[in-house]
Assembly symmetry: C2
Homo-oligomer: 296 residues x 2
Amino acid sequence: MTRPPTVDIREVGPRDGLQVEAPVDPGDRVRLVEALVEAGVSHVEACSFVSPTAVPAMAGAGEVMAKLSRVSGVTYTALVPNRKGAEMALEAGVDELTVTVSASPAYSEKNVRMSIDESVAAVEEVCVLAGTVPVDAVISCAFGSPYEGDIAPERAAALGDRLVDAGAVSLTYADTTGMATPRRVAELLDETGTEVGLHLHDTRGTALVNAYSALERGVRRFDTSVGGLGGSPFAAGAAGNLATEDFVALLDDLGVVSGIDLERLLAASALAAELVGHPLPSRVAVAGPRDRLAPE
Amino acid sequence: MTRPPTVDIREVGPRDGLQVEAPVDPGDRVRLVEALVEAGVSHVEACSFVSPTAVPAMAGAGEVMAKLSRVSGVTYTALVPNRKGAEMALEAGVDELTVTVSASPAYSEKNVRMSIDESVAAVEEVCVLAGTVPVDAVISCAFGSPYEGDIAPERAAALGDRLVDAGAVSLTYADTTGMATPRRVAELLDETGTEVGLHLHDTRGTALVNAYSALERGVRRFDTSVGGLGGSPFAAGAAGNLATEDFVALLDDLGVVSGIDLERLLAASALAAELVGHPLPSRVAVAGPRDRLAPE
């Protein structure tokens, strides 16, 4: 057992979570980010600098970054799809850039209309521009896609190597359509080592068990989304991301430090549900922490 | 690692799943049990012989048992609350009886209006009556209840010992209100050994991760419910049981044999959803198996 004493949770609800929802006003997105930081979140993907035509829910990223009361010690991240997005994000003073490249050629073509080679080239451009601002490369469909099925761990890891060569300082492997399992997580980690991040989706109800099995193998970086917000526009009926509160509840029980206070996080989750206007998938958000007793 | 090569899944959807739903006709309950057996289920809790006034959804248990086309090699189980229920179940020719005793005194009083001592005495009566028909004692709230919080593993295990003394041939520890975690499962197994069954609920999204952690410690008996049907009438917003299809998908991926065919199980799950008239919580039921590709 190599379970780490602490983990770095990157909260992606304000970006990956909200991007598939009806647009939420930038001021309200600022409130959500601030509520998350108040709960102890120290790493947050706050927005993405993408075309507002392509992703209307992410319009106003510059406004979000400008209005945020930045807290010292918190890393504010933005997703950027290309050089233009990176310029805007750097102008807005983000602490980290995330870029995505799909390990699935078919998904890449359908999702961003680029080949994997073109995506890697775009990452290289962003990394040059970023200078000392770190770039985390997120490898989507790292476990496979519904277009070609499983993707071999060697292939996903090889793409990771190319992205490091392109200038990425860290890598995050994403289970975009819920095809990871504890076995496949272990196989990928055998190729990549445990100094990677994981971004897990709950499409098949496996987000938490995959996170747990990665944790037990020593992985220390996880993307999660408040309330389990999010999903993939390309996977019908897809459940969202690993819910931050479900993971924090597990970590608390194991004595692994995340720095996040579960009760305050549940307040942020309630705000998120209010902003999107529907209940969120997180089970802990519904049932409460396991030590919450019945009313007398 | 002591992961077993095979597991015994006891499908509890037709009983624990349906008992909280609007009543389904006995003939349709027979169809569901038969669909599950066609999918490879070899152990099924088909009904319960309880008062139809107390649990209207379980009325007609005798009719269910009489109409079933029994398949050789399949264990058909019924839950019985007391001597009278046991008499009816034995008359109907069940292969196994299940009885429940709560590890939580407060839950026991509220749920069945009996003390734990009274429940144990009722189990003893049932076991005497059962003769050579095996009785499995299910210990509900084995991890705690919302009335008193955590229940110490030593206490749950001590209750198990009493039930074996009372004549139970096997024990199943139930996480009735979703308070188990991988840590607490391990702590209980340290007390009980791994020759026990687990009955896990997904109230806090932990059913699968708890099952996985128990499996990795060598547990071979699990209760699951098709589609994740079920829940606790005492836990507001409670999600259901561990979904059979979600667990079978995990087992298949790990190479652990359950004897259940996932595609046929999904057909049974679709029937269950049709019978209760609403979608079921299972994520695999919605998204399909992980190797299902997108249409061309």
